[in-house]
Symmetry: C2
Subunit: 489 residues, 2 copies
C-alpha cells in the first residue's frame, strides 16, 4: 500500500522520481531475474488500453493478427548479415529442452523478422497473395546490461507488424502510413507530442533499408524513441527466399516492412505527464477516469453517502453521450481510511479526475471536482453532471498535450548554434537541438563521443526549421540535412 512519504521531486533527481512513481503507484516491480520486470495491474491496465487503441487502428487499416513462435533456430538468425550482427549478441539462448542438449541452439526472439519471412515464403506464390499485412502481440527478450523499469528491460511486451508487398513504393507507403498511425496514437491517446523522421544510417534497424521513428521529449529534456517503422527493402526477402510471380510472369523478391511499439510507451507516458505528486494519466488511457470519494463522519452518514456515490457512479456510467465508450468510474468507499489519504493515493496513481461527495455537496445538489493535471478544483451541479464530467475529461486530455508540447518547444533549440553552445546545452539543461549536418557518419560518431548526444532523426518536413541551418554545426561544411540532436533513453 502507498504510504504518505513524499516522492523525491523531479528537480531533485528525475531518475529517482521515476523509479519511485513506478514502484509506489504499483505500476511495476522488480523481478528475481535481473533486468526483468513484473507489470502490476495498475501498469498493465494502461498497457491494455494502449493495445486496444492500437489494435483497432491496425485492423481499420487492413491488418490481421497472427502468432509466430517464441523460439528461433540459431541458423535463421544468421541468414541476414546485418541482422545477426545487430541482434545475436543480445539474445538469450536455449541449449537444453526436455532434459536433453539440443542439436541446434534456439534463440528467444529479440524480434521476429527471420521466422516470419520464412513463413511468408511458404505462403506466397503469386502477386495475388500480396500484400500480406500481419501483426502480432508478443513478448521479446533482449539481453540488456543497464535496465530501467518499462524503458529498457530484458523482456518486454510489444506488437510487431510485418508486411510483404509487390513493390518498393507500396512498402514505403506502408511504413509511412504506420508512422502516421503511431503519431496519431501518441498525440491523441498518450497526449505526447512527437517528432517524426528518418534515422541516420548508424541508428537504423539492423537489416533495414530505412527506419522511420517517433521521438518524444521527456521532462528531463532527454529524448525517448517511442516507436519505429522500417522499410526493410528486399534484404530479408532475399535471405529467406520470399519470392513471387509478378503479373508480368517474372519471379521477383517481395518488399517488406516491420514496425513496433512496446511497453516502453508506459515509461514515456509517466515521464511526459507525471508530476511531484505521482503519475498523471491521460483520460483516454486511464483504466479509471474518475474516482468518487464519498465523505462522511458518522456511520449513518456513511451509508447515505456511499449510496449517493454509487448513484452518481450509475448516472455517469449509464450516460451514453460518448457512445459505446462509457465513462470509467470507481467509488472508493473504503472504511477506516481518511479522505486525505485516499486523495493522496489516487493522485499518486494518476487518476485524471476526483469527485468528492460530502453531506453538504449533496444538500447543494452538487459535487466537488479536482483535476489531477492542474489540481484546479470546482463544484459541478448534479443536474447534467455526466456531460460536464465528460467535458472536463476531454479538456484534461487536450490540456495535457498542450502542456507537453509547450515544455518540449521551450527546450527545443533552433537556428545557428555553434558546437560550443551545443556542448553547453547537452552538458546543462539538455533538449532537442536542430542543427546542420554534413551527412558524415564520422562527424556523428564524434559528437556522440564528445557529448553523448545522438542524432534522433532527420525530421519530416513539417518539423524542420523555417530557416534551416545551411552549414554543418561541427565542420562548417555545407549541411546535407537538418537533424535533431538529443541525449536519449
Amino acid at each position: 500500500m502507498a504510504d504518505d512519504k513524499k516522492l523525491t521531486t523531479r528537480a531533485e533527481d528525475f531518475s529517482a522520481w521515476y523509479n519511485e512513481v513506478v514502484l509506489r503507484a504499483e505500476l511495476a516491480d522488480y523481478s528475481p531475474v535481473k533486468g526483468s520486470m513484473v507489470i502490476r495491474p495498475n501498469g498493465y491496465g494502461i498497457w491494455e488500453r494502449m493495445q486496444r487503441a492500437l489494435d483497432d487502428k491496425f485492423k481499420a487499416t487492413g491488418h490481421v493478427n497472427a502468432y509466430f513462435p517464441l523460439l528461433i533456430p540459431e541458423s535463421f538468425m544468421h541468414k541476414e548479415a546485418q541482422h545477426v550482427e545487430g541482434f545475436a549478441p543480445e539474445c538469450a539462448v536455449v541449449t537444453h529442452g526436455g532434459g536433453k542438449k539440443l542439436e541446434e541452439p534456439l534463440y528467444i526472439r529479440p524480434t521476429s523478422e527471420t521466422i516470419i519471412y520464412h513463413m511468408f515464403a511458404k505462403w506466397v506464390q503469386s502477386y495475388r497473395d500480396l500484400p500480406i499485412l500481419m501483426n502480432q502481440w508478443a513478448n521479446v527478450v533482449r539481453w540488456e546490461m543497464r535496465t530501467r523499469l518499462f524503458l529498457r528491460t530484458l523482456e518486454f511486451l510489444w506488437q510487431e507488424g510485418h508486411t510483404a508487398h509487390a513493390t518498393h513504393d507500396e512498402a514505403e507507403a506502408e511504413a509511412k502510413m504506420i508512422l502516421g498511425q503511431y503519431r496519431d496514437f501518441m498525440e491523441n491517446w498518450m497526449a505526447m507530442p512527437v517528432v517524426t523522421g528518418l534515422k541516420s544510417e548508424s541508428e537504423k534497424f539492423a537489416g533495414a533499408l530505412r527506419t522511420y521513428c517517433l521521438e518524444a521529449m521527456m521532462q528531463d529534456n532527454k529524448a525517448l524513441q517511442a516507436g519505429t517503422s522500417h522499410n526493410l527493402g528486399q534484404n530479408f526477402a532475399k535471405a529467406f527466399e520470399l519470392k513471387f510471380q509478378a503479373e508480368s510472369g517474372e519471379i521477383e523478391h517481395a518488399w517488406n516492412t516491420s514496425w513496433g511499439v512496446s511497453t516502453r510507451m508506459v515509461g514515456g507516458l509517466i515521464m511526459t505527464h507525471g508530476d511531484d505528486n505521482g503519475l498523471v494519466t491521460p483520460p483516454k488511457l486511464a483504466p479509471i477516469e474518475v474516482v468518487i470519494v464519498p465523505i462522511w463522519k458518522t456511520d449513518d452518514e456513511r451509508a447515505k453517502m456511499v449510496e449517493a456515490a454509487n448513484k452518481l457512479k450509475a448516472e455517469l456510467t449509464g450516460w451514453s453521450g460518448r457512445g459505446e465508450d462509457r465513462l470509467r468510474v470507481h467509488v472508493d468507499a473504503r472504511d477506516g481510511m481518511r479522505s486525505g489519504a485516499k486523495y493522496y493515493e489516487w493522485e499518486l496513481r494518476g487518476i485524471p479526475l476526483r469527485l468528492e461527495l460530502g453531506p453538504k455537496d449533496l444538500e447543494k445538489q452538487s459535487v466537488f471536482s479536482a483535476r489531477r493535471d492542474t489540481r484546479v478544483k470546482a463544484a459541478i451541479p448534479m443536474e447534467g453532471v455526466a456531460p460536464a464530467v465528460a467535458q472536463l475529461l476531454a479538456s484534461i486530455q487536450a490540456d495535457l498535450f498542450t502542456a507537453a508540447k509547450a515544455r518540449r518547444d521551450a527546450a527545443t533549440h533552433r537556428g545557428d548554434i555553434t558546437y560550443d553552445r551545443f556542448k553547453e546545452i547537452m552538458e546543462g539543461p539538455g533538449g532537442f537541438v536542430y542543427a546542420g549536418w554534413n551527412g558524415d557518419p564520422a562527424v556523428e560518431a564524434q559528437v556522440k563521443e564528445e557529448t553523448k548526444a545522438t542524432i534522433r532523426c532527420i525530421p519530416d518536413e513539417e518539423f524542420r526549421s523555417p530557416n534551416a541551418p545551411k552549414t554543418c554545426m561541427v565542420t562548417g561544411q555545407p549541411a546535407k540535412y537538418e537533424v535533431v540532436w538529443a541525449k536519449a533513453y
Copy 2:
C-alpha cells in the same frame, strides 16, 4: 489458397482429417522449430474472440490482469517438490544470455506459480491485502515429444489465473467459481458440452491440493481436457513464504488457486463441430459470422450485384438489435473466381452463414441463405433481413450445442459395465464410461496400462448416474466413487 481437393473424411481417418482442416482452412501451420506452431490469422481470430469473452468474465468476477516474466530462475522451480518433479523434465532451459554463460540457468515458464507466488509474498503483509485476484495472458513452453497442432505444442498461448486468499474455503470457492465460468464459456460460446469434476490424485496438477477440470468429447469419442482449476492449498505459500497477518494477529500462510485454458480450445472447437467439408465455427466465436457472395454473369451485372451486396452488408452491420455486438459480415466480391469455389472455401473455413445474392434474388427482394452446420438453404426476405439473420445465427449457436451434446450422450455408457465390456468399448468405438472405482491408484494404473483409458474425473453431482454403480468395475469391491473413463488427447 484452398484447392478443391476433397478432405479426408472423419470416418476414414479422424487424425488426418483434423490436420487437413487446420492446414487447409489456414488456421495454423508447422514452424521450423519442431513442435512449435504458427497460428495463422484465421485461427488467431477465433482465439482473439475466445480471449475477449473470457477476459470479460474474469473482469466481471473481480480479477485484474498483470504480466510476470517469461524466465524463471532454476532454483525457484525446485522450491515445491511435486511441482519440480512434474514440470522440470519438460522445461526449455536458457544457459546463455548476452553472449555469456549464465551463473544460474533460467527456465522458460511452463506455468508461473513459482514466480507469481514469490511476488505475491512481497506484496502481501496483512489480511487486508487479500484476496489477490490476478490473471495473465501469456505464452508458455513445455517440451512435448508428440505434438499436434493446437492440441499439444511445444509453445502455447493461454491465460493463467492466480489468486491468494485468507482461508481454505475462500480458495475452494474461487476454484469452483472459475470452473463455472469456464463451463459457461465452453457451453455458451464454444457450444461444446463438458463434464466437470475432480481429478484423481494421479491426474492432478503437480503441486495442487485438488484439481477440478472440464472434459469434452471429440467426434472420435476421445476426451479432451479443455481446462483446469486448481485449489493449491498452502503448498506454494509455504514454499515461497507467502504469509500474512490474520485479523486475529496470527501469522498464517495464504491459500492459492490457479486456473488456465489455452489455444488447445481451438483444437477442441474443430474436433467438436467440424465436418467432412471442413471447419464449423459457432457464431459467437466466428470473426466473420456471415459471408455475402454476390453472383453475376456480366461486368454490368457485377457492378450492380456488388453494390447490392455492400448495401446488404451495411444494413446487417448497421442493425443494433444485438446492442454493441454488431453482426460481423464480409462481402466476397473477388473477380475471376467461380461462386462454387467461393462457397467451397468459406465452408472449409467454417463461416456459420452464407448469403447468396444474385440478380433474381434482388428482383424478388430476397436473399438466399445457406447454414454451414446443417447445410439447410432458404430464402430470406430483404424486409427485416437483419433480425432474421441474427435469429438464424442464434439458432446455429444453439443447434451446434444440442448436436454436440447428443453425440456425446450417444457415446456415453452408464450402468453396470463389466471390465470385459469396458475393454471392448475402449478397443472399439471409445466414449465415456461411467463406472464404479474403489479409489485405489493401483487399479487406476492397471486399467490405464491395459486399455490406455484414464480417469477423466470424478464427476460433479449433476453429471453422476441416477443409479451409480455400487461396486468397482475391476475388483468388484465397494465403489468409493463413480468416475468417468475415456481415452484422451
